[in-house]
């Protein structure tokens, strides 16, 4: 059951961070994903949920950053999967959703590093390695997104500056 609005606790998941929760009060939120990608995982059986805010594609051998452990797609997803399993989750039950990977700095810049596109691709590959397929995705385009995951229900919502929250 969803907690009454007053009891809800919004947990902001910043750049390169992740959060895992079993508390039905919690709503995990990655605010304003631009070229970054947010990945949510929820195990309905164990009632455990997690959200990661990935900044860059594969680490290519670069070490994990102490302050931003989920900076890279590979480290970020590995860490999220491990944290959920450690919290009692079962990988085969994970419901995975992905949002972000936009090109928000204009068309001229979009062609330069293609970070959003590369992030989305790296996430896809890493999920595949874990045997996970996203149940829903909202990626690409030119607008930033906020992704939130309600731990009580496992429901995810995406909103942009121009549109209200839509269930993903």
């Amino acid at each position: 059951m969803t907690a009454p609005a007053a009891d809800i606790r919004r947990v902001a998941v910043g750049i390169g961070q992740l959060a895992v929760s079993k508390s039905p009060r919690d709503v995990l939120v990655a605010y304003g994903l631009g070229s970054c990608v947010g990945v949510s995982m929820f195990d309905p059986g164990a009632g455990v949920a997690g959200l990661v805010h990935v900044l860059l594609p594969g680490s290519d051998g670069k070490p994990q950053d102490a302050k931003e452990p989920a900076r890279f797609a590979d480290y970020g997803l590995d860490l999220l999967v491990k944290s959920l399993v450690d919290a009692g989750g079962l990988k085969r039950r994970f419901v995975v959703k992905v949002a972000g990977g936009a090109a928000v700095l204009g068309p001229a810049n979009a062609e330069k590093f293609k970070i959003g596109e590369r992030n989305a691709e790296a996430i896809k590959e890493r999920l595949k390695l874990h045997g996970l397929t996203p149940a829903a995705r909202d990626i690409g385009g030119t607008k930033g997104r906020t992704l939130e995951l309600h731990v009580a229900t496992g429901r995810t919502y995406v909103r942009t500056a121009a549109s209200p929250a839509n269930e993903l």
Binding site: G14, I15, Y31, G32, L33, G34, S35, C36, L55, L56, P57, K62, K67, R71, A102, V104, L105, G106, P107, A108, N109, K112, F113, I115, G116, K143, G144, R145, T146, T160, A161
Partner: protein
């Protein structure tokens, strides 16, 4: 890893101050009022409160993004809270305040021009101080949640490896409201060049 107090931060703060004064002067002329400039803060990496000046991470902002080419490469972004941008547009177009109520084509064009003038003023000061040749690109007008834009610039710089240095300058009007936020980030490959200048 560079830390606050290191020569590069000290030098960039000094250089950025001059840039900020010139950029603020440009903004002041366009806004038709006195603009106060906070001493630019040179930060390494990201900061959770990077978007506070424009109203917080999810605040809708309107702004201009320019890439920097020449002796050093990098990124320049000028962001305004939307209402502030619309007020600016009315002023620039000689219209009564409140005429422009939403970001339309004219507003986008005016904001691009604002970015051009303010961003170039900063870049020119940087070029003068460092004796480097710097060319800002034509502006792309951006409109999005503040954090989506800031984190995307951070990602661009960080993806190249090395240290990330971001220079934030907050402009305030006479009533203390934020009139704009200017973010300048040199690419990591150029930091050695800037370090030499700092030595």
């Amino acid at each position: 890893m560079a830390t606050p107090g290191t020569p590069i931060v000290t030098t960039l703060t000094r250089v950025a101050s001059d840039g900020a004064i010139r950029a603020g002067r440009g903004l002041s002329g366009l806004m038709g009022q006195e603009i106060t400039i906070h001493v630019p803060s040179v930060r390494l990496g990201t900061k959770a409160d990077a978007c506070d000046a424009v109203g917080g991470p999810e605040t809708l902002v309107l702004g201009a993004y320019l890439s920097l080419a020449g002796d050093i490469t990098g990124h320049v972004m000028l962001l305004f809270p939307v209402q502030r941008a619309l007020d600016c547009v009315d002023l620039m177009c000689g219209q009564e305040k409140g005429t422009t109520t939403e970001p339309d084509e004219l507003a986008f064009s005016a904001v691009g021009e604002l970015g051009n003038i303010v961003g170039s003023a900063f870049v020119n000061a940087l070029a003068d101080e460092t004796n480097l040749i710097l060319h800002p690109s034509p502006p792309s007008v951006v409109s999005d949640m503040a954090i989506a834009l800031v984190e995307s610039v951070y990602a661009e710089v960080l993806s190249q490896g090395g240290d990330v240095v971001m220079i934030d300058t907050v402009f305030e009007d006479s009533s203390g409201r934020t009139a704009g936020l200017l973010i300048v980030a040199p690419d990591p490959s150029c930091l050695d060049r800037l370090r030499e200048l700092a030595a």
